[in-house]
C-alpha cells in the first residue's frame, strides 16, 4: 500500500491513545527458539508507553522469551466495517514473570502503526488505492 494511503487511514495520536487504552485484549506475538512465529490472545492493559499482557501458553514456548526480546501486540476492534480500527505495536519485553503457568510481560513500545476504516467508508476518488477488509 502506498505510504500516503497508509497515513491517510491511520488514527490520530489522540485516537490511538484512546484506542489502545480501551483494548483489553490483544494478540501477543513472539518468535520461539526454533524461529517459528507464535501468537495467542492475551489480556492487555496499557499504561503510558508500555503494555502489560497476560496469557496462558500451552505450547511451552513463551518461557523462552525474556527481558529485551522482541514482541508485537496487535489490537483490532469493530463490529461494522466503518468501525474497524486497529494498531500494531512492536516493542520489547521489559519485565517478564510466570505464575501458575500464566505469563505476564510488560512491553515497551518501539514502533506503532494504526488504521481506521472509517476513512474508507465512503467511495474514494478515482486516484485512491483499495484496501482489503481488515488489512492495514
Amino acid at each position: 500500500m502506498p505510504a500516503e494511503r497508509r497515513r491517510r487511514i491511520a488514527m490520530s495520536a489522540e485516537q490511538l491513545t484512546a484506542f489502545l487504552d480501551g483494548s483489553a485484549e490483544m494478540v501477543v506475538a513472539y518468535v520461539d527458539a526454533a524461529g517459528w512465529p507464535v501468537g495467542t490472545l492475551a489480556r492487555a492493559d496499557r499504561h503510558r508507553e508500555e503494555i502489560t499482557v497476560e496469557f496462558d501458553d500451552p505450547t511451552g514456548t513463551a518461557a523462552g522469551v525474556g527481558v529485551g526480546d522482541a514482541v508485537c501486540c496487535v489490537a483490532e476492534q469493530g463490529a461494522r466495517y466503518d468501525e474497524i480500527r486497529g494498531a500494531i505495536v512492536r516493542g520489547e519485553v521489559t519485565a517478564a514473570a510466570t505464575a501458575d503457568g500464566r505469563h505476564r510481560w510488560t512491553v515497551r513500545a518501539r514502533h506503532t502503526s494504526s488504521f481506521d476504516f472509517a476513512a474508507l467508508a465512503d467511495p474514494p476518488g478515482e486516484s485512491s488505492e483499495p484496501v482489503s477488509p481488515r488489512q492495514p
Partner: protein, 192 residues
C-alpha cells in the same frame, strides 16, 4: 503440543515439495475436524510473521479456509509479502468476532505455499453479507451443535470492487498457507 519444528532444519527459505505437503498428506491433514470447522466459519485472523530484524510482526487479516489451506489477499509489494518471501513460516491466530458466543481462539502454524493462489474463491459472490471477500466458500457440515457464528462486517461495495480489480490486475495476490498443526486456547478470558 509444541510449535512445529519438523521444518526448522530445512531453514526458513525451504519450500514445501508440492501442494500436498509432506508425507503425501493433503493440505490441512494435521488439523482436527473441529479445528477445520472452526476455520470454515471464522474469518477474523491475525497473521504473525517474522520481520527482517528477526522480530515478530502481526497483521489483522481476513482469512479464508479453502480446500485445506488458509488464504488471504494482500498487495504484491506489501511488507508482509517481503517478510514471507524471506521466511514462509507463519502463525495465524483466528479469533471469533463475537467472543461472547465462542470464547475459543485457534492458533494455526503453517508454511506459505510456493507460488500464488487462485483468485477464483475471492471473485465470486457468496451467500453471506460480505460478497466474495470473507464469506467462507466451503462450509464443512456442522457438528451436532453448530458453532455460533457472528457474520463478518459487511464490506462496502466500492471496497469489494476495488479489491477485485486489484486481484485481476495483479497488484494484489492470494497467499496460501498450508497448516501443519493448530491449537485451541480460551484466549484471555480466563485471566484471574
Amino acid at each position: 503440543m509444541t510449535v512445529p519444528t519438523e521444518d526448522a532444519a530445512a531453514g526458513p527459505d525451504a519450500e514445501l515439495p508440492d501442494r500436498r505437503g509432506r508425507d503425501g498428506q493433503p493440505p490441512g491433514a494435521g488439523l482436527t475436524g473441529e479445528q477445520r470447522r472452526f476455520l470454515a466459519v471464522h474469518t477474523r485472523g491475525f497473521l504473525i510473521v517474522t520481520g527482517a530484524d528477526g522480530g515478530p510482526i502481526g497483521y489483522p487479516m481476513t482469512v479464508r479456509w479453502c480446500d485445506g489451506t488458509l488464504e488471504f489477499n494482500t498487495y504484491r509489494r506489501s511488507a508482509k509479502v517481503s517478510h514471507l518471501r524471506r521466511d514462509g513460516r507463519v502463525c495465524v491466530v483466528v479469533v471469533p468476532r463475537d467472543r461472547a458466543a465462542d470464547r475459543r481462539v485457534l492458533s494455526v502454524w503453517g508454511r506459505v505455499q510456493p507460488g500464488e493462489g487462485t483468485i477464483e474463491h475471492w471473485m465470486r459472490d457468496g451467500d453471506g453479507p460480505e460478497p466474495g471477500l470473507s464469506t467462507p466458500p466451503h462450509i464443512t457440515p456442522p457438528p451436532v451443535t453448530p458453532p455460533p457464528v457472528t457474520p463478518p462486517p459487511v464490506t462496502p461495495p466500492h471496497v469489494v470492487r476495488k479489491v477485485r480489480e486489484r486481484l485481476l490486475d495483479g497488484k494484489r495476490i492470494i497467499i496460501r498457507v498450508t497448516p501443519l498443526t493448530a491449537l485451541f486456547t480460551e484466549g484471555a478470558d480466563d485471566a484471574g
